[in-house]
Amino acid sequence: MQDTHRVWRVYVSYKQDTLDPVSMRIQWEIRDMDVKGVEKVKVIQGFRLDGDLSEDDVKLICEELLHDPIIQEYVYFLEGESNIRLDGWIIEVKYKPGVFDSLASSVLEASRIIGIDRLSHAETFTLYVLNGCLNYDKVELVARRCLANPIIHDYKILPPV
């Protein structure tokens, strides 16, 4: 039986009680770039995996390639079927089409090496989950001033649910 075309999304982040230097760094940079009101930042590395992948395939890719089991954790889900709640404002930053995504190309190549050749396309993106005294304008300022470069990135802002 052939599966229909499905796209998986994977979120990789530092474990709850682990030191998260990436998020700390971004939080510091936002402050340093003179944007006030951001009290907490959590950075999530996202992947979009496209191809005829089974859940086991995705799990294997996550286990073997996408996360560091000591300090990081991951979740995966089918695009459009998420019940994951991220608390706060979310800025999603990804490369514009046509900009070379070297991380994604490594994922593609490495998947083949571990024996998964059904992964046909991969993309990466970054989610920044922001908390604090924020509104849309302020979050957009953060996106433009610190996180996304309009020349190579597209970004999308999602208010808290």
Partner: protein
């Protein structure tokens, strides 16, 4: 059918020609378009878009250096080719047997020991960094590594010199489309870090400066030193050799980066340039390097007859350059692509990173392919060198480009430009001396230009490959500012390579003296650790040369380079210029960078165990100043703090400077020097403070003893930035040796090192200035406490 369009230039009017130049983003002038028109009339057809783009890339300022090679009218007469007349000329006149390859390949090559030689190249990557700091600076580093790999050498050192706008620039005042300097700096540093660290090349030499002039046009100079056995150097592609494209796949990235680099930035650049931005992949380049090193070494001769980097201009430039004297045929549909849908001209011009081109004799191709397969690096035969004198490009069997190489490389009309320079009249202003000179010293130390760059340096891996002997940070706590970097490149020899740089845009209002000063600075940094037999690289980043004063300043700087290099007996071996570093604001006004000349000095030291660092070593040692301190405070940090914009820019005493440098080296060799630090930004005061807190020792000195000309005030003695000066800590008991070496030259013993951590300075009139060295160090380190 090939997706090629034919452009009708033969019947085009002048206006239509310029319209074509604009529409196809060729950045060509009317004269150049006319030359193209005449050529195609002579061969009886119109050009394809592939051909027009090939010509535009080859004739771009970036590839051809048409300003430097053009005809320049000045008030003192005509200069026919600035490069030949000054930079190449000094190298020719000095004619050093150890200069193996100069100005004719991707990198300059000098002999090290036996067959071992050193390849060096410094590039600029300014425009891409302005648009995407991370990708731009990273690919600048990756690109210059490939320049060095492109002569067959293995990169052993990454050099990075960066200039940004002021870090405290108000956000409200940023021009539209310009990123804040803090963000540009963090992005650029991260880009350089990720490329060098991931590829396993130490980044251990460089500088960072700030000036409002760089707000819209940050500068990134990326340099690389490589090592190779010179017997493996080959650069003679033969007709019949296969053209092999190796490394990464080809996509749309970086299209027209070269013609883009030869234009000014505008707010619009942000919109049109998505295709100009390149993203690097250091892992790909590491595989490429490993495969090429095997192809170079595994058999009795290299498997390739020539090799070059696929950089600016992409395949068009790489294949064109190699085929220059013979001819070549390429089939574009063989080029492996990242994705489908590229048009032929896009494949031909793409500046996708991590690609190189090899010329491979047919008999070697199987061996070569095997190596590349084993290293998991793609290699594809895309064509063949010929003896037709033509550059012929096919797409799916159909000819899309058929140009005479003679026309391509010699057909460009000489650029004729006017240069004008109004010599600056200088005077030293009179003003009351401030009382708290130690407070001024603290402020200079915490100026971002002078302050510790530890935050940056620590991100770079400067240990990988285990060759770096004198690291960027020295002293008892491993955080003092080293004058130069010393490498030990060979396992079984003590010989070392010494790398240093000199750059000072604060002197740019007097470009001739700026050139003398930065050559002197690069050399004295090198000499301060024990470097000698020095070769130089020049990198000019300038504004729009079509303006007379901007070009006039450039001519002055080039003349300074010649005079200084001649006097110091140091040939130029490679260089690169980046012009049009300007930003046009929506209201039509310009922002130009200050003319910025970077000089990189490559010296050697026969025995790295004799290399010297700048930190004071023991208490009770005599401290000497070598070289005259003059009333030269124009462009100094002192005057900039005092809000004074006049003053005399430091010059160089070309008759004595070389002698002083030679004697320092001699004194290091006999072992009478314990520490040596050059005096530059912030003068004597900053140098003394740095040597003190780096060594954890105090120093007590008497300004009345400082060898000086025409100076009586404590502040001016302390903060003058005169060139060719060193602070030398001499081994106790060896004062006589030292003084004999410097017989007849300006030197004086000014004091001694002390155990107590205090900087004590006795003024000429008996005033005493005193400061705790740790408080000075705090001031120096707190600026980049990021």
């Amino acid at each position: 059918m090939a997706k090629v369009s034919v452009i009708h230039v033969r019947e085009a009017t002048d206006e239509e020609l310029m319209d074509i130049s604009r529409r196809y983003m060729l950045s060509l002038s009317l004269d150049e378009m006319k030359a193209i028109k005449a050529y195609f009339i002579s061969i009886g057809r119109d050009p394809t878009d592939v051909e027009l783009n090939t010509i535009a890339q080859t004739w771009s300022e970036h590839c051809y250096h048409k300003t430097f090679k053009g005809i320049i009218e000045t008030n003192d007469g005509i200069i026919d080719n600035l490069l030949e007349s000054y930079i190449f000329r000094v190298t020719k006149e000095l004619s050093k047997p150890w200069c193996l390859v100069v100005f004719e390949d991707n990198a300059g090559i000098v002999r090290l020991e036996g067959d071992w030689s050193i390849a060096v190249k410094v590039e600029t990557h300014n425009h891409p960094t302005a648009l995407d700091p991370y990708g731009g600076a990273g690919t600048g580093t990756g690109g210059v590594f490939r320049d060095v790999i492109g002569v067959g050498a293995k990169p052993i050192l990454s050099i990075d010199v960066l200039f940004f706008g002021p870090l405290d620039y108000p956000y409200e005042l940023l021009p539209q489309g310009v990123m804040h300097p803090r963000r540009v700096m963090r992005g650029a540093v991260a880009g350089i870090r990720d490329y060098g660290n991931k590829m396993g090349v130490p980044t251990a030499c460089g500088a960072i400066g700030f000036d409002e002039g760089y707000l819209c046009n940050p500068l990134v100079y990326a340099g690389c030193v490589g090592i190779m056995p010179f017997s493996r150097y080959t650069r003679k592609p033969k007709p019949g050799d296969l053209i092999v494209l190796v490394g990464g796949r080809t996509g749309r990235d970086g299209l027209r980066g070269v013609t883009f680099a030869s234009t000014e930035l505008t707010p619009e650049s942000e919109k049109v340039s998505v295709i100009s931005v390149q993203i690097g992949n250091p892992i790909e380049e590491k595989k490429l390097l490993d495969a090429i090193m095997r192809a170079r070494d595994e058999y009795s001769e290299p498997l390739y007859s020539a090799i070059t980097d696929c950089g600016g201009g992409g395949l068009s430039s790489a294949v064109g350059e190699m085929a220059k004297k013979i001819g070549a045929e390429v089939e574009l549909s063989l080029v492996p692509l990242k994705y489908e849908g590229l048009e032929p001209w896009e494949i031909w011009l793409s500046e996708s990173q991590e690609r190189m081109v090899l010329a491979v004799p047919e008999g070697n191709i199987d061996k070569l392919m095997k190596i590349f397969r084993e290293e998991d690096c793609e290699a594809t035969v895309i064509g063949r060198f010929t003896s037709t004198g033509k550059l012929r490009v096919y797409y799916e069997g159909e000819v899309v480009c058929d140009l005479d190489l003679e026309f391509l490389f010699k057909g460009i009309p000489r650029v004729r430009r006017r240069a004008y320079w109004n010599p600056l009249r200088e005077w030293d202003p009179d003003f009351p001396m401030p009382t708290d000179l130690m407070d001024i010293l603290r402020r200079i130390l915490s100026d971002p230009n002078v302050a510790s760059k530890e935050w940056v340096i620590r991100q770079y891996d400067h240990e990988v490959q285990a060759r770096v002997v004198i690291k960027p940070m020295v002293g008892i706590h491993g955080d003092g500012p080293s004058d130069a970097c010393v490498l030990k490149p060979l396992k079984d020899s003590w010989i070392g390579v010494v790398v240093s740089c000199g750059v000072n845009p604060k002197y740019s209002r007097y470009p001739y003296k700026m050139a003398l000063s930065v050559v002197d600075e690069a050399i004295r940094n090198n000499v301060a650790v024990g470097g000698r037999r020095i070769a130089l690289l020049d990198n000019f980043s300038w504004g729009n040369p079509e303006r007379e004063e901007t070009l006039g300043a450039l001519v002055e700087a080039v003349k300074g380079c010649y005079d200084a290099a001649k006097a110091f007996d140091t040939p130029f071996i490679s260089g690169k210029d980046s012009l049009y570093n300007e930003y046009r604001l929506p209201d039509g006004s310009y922002r130009s960078i200050p003319g910025t000349l970077l000089i990189t000095a490559i010296g050697i030291i026969p025995d790295i165990r004799k290399a010297i660092t700048m930190d004071f070593k023991e208490p009770g040692n005599p401290v000497y100043v070598v070289g005259y301190t003059r009333c030269e405070l124009g462009g100094s940090y002192y005057y900039s703090i005092m809000g004074i914009d006049s003053g005399v820019i430091p010059s160089v005493d070309l008759n004595n400077a070389k002698l002083i440098m030679d004697r320092i080296v001699e004194a290091i060799d006999v072992g009478c020097i314990r520490s040596c630090h050059d005096c530059s930004e912030g003068g004597l005061a900053v140098a003394l403070a740095e040597s003190s807190f780096s060594g954890g020792l105090g120093v007590e000195v008497w300004l009345s003893e400082v060898p000086r000309l025409g100076l009586v005030r404590d502040d001016k003695i302390l903060f003058s930035e005169s060139n060719t000066r060193f602070i030398v800590e001499v081994r106790k008991g060896m004062e006589d040796y030292f003084e004999r070496i410097f017989y007849n030259l300006p030197y004086r013993r000014i004091g001694y090192t002390t155990r107590e951590g205090r900087l004590v300075i006795h003024g000429v009139n008996g005033r005493v200035y005193e400061e705790d060295i740790w408080s000075l160090k705090d001031a120096w380190k707190s600026t980049f406490n990021w």
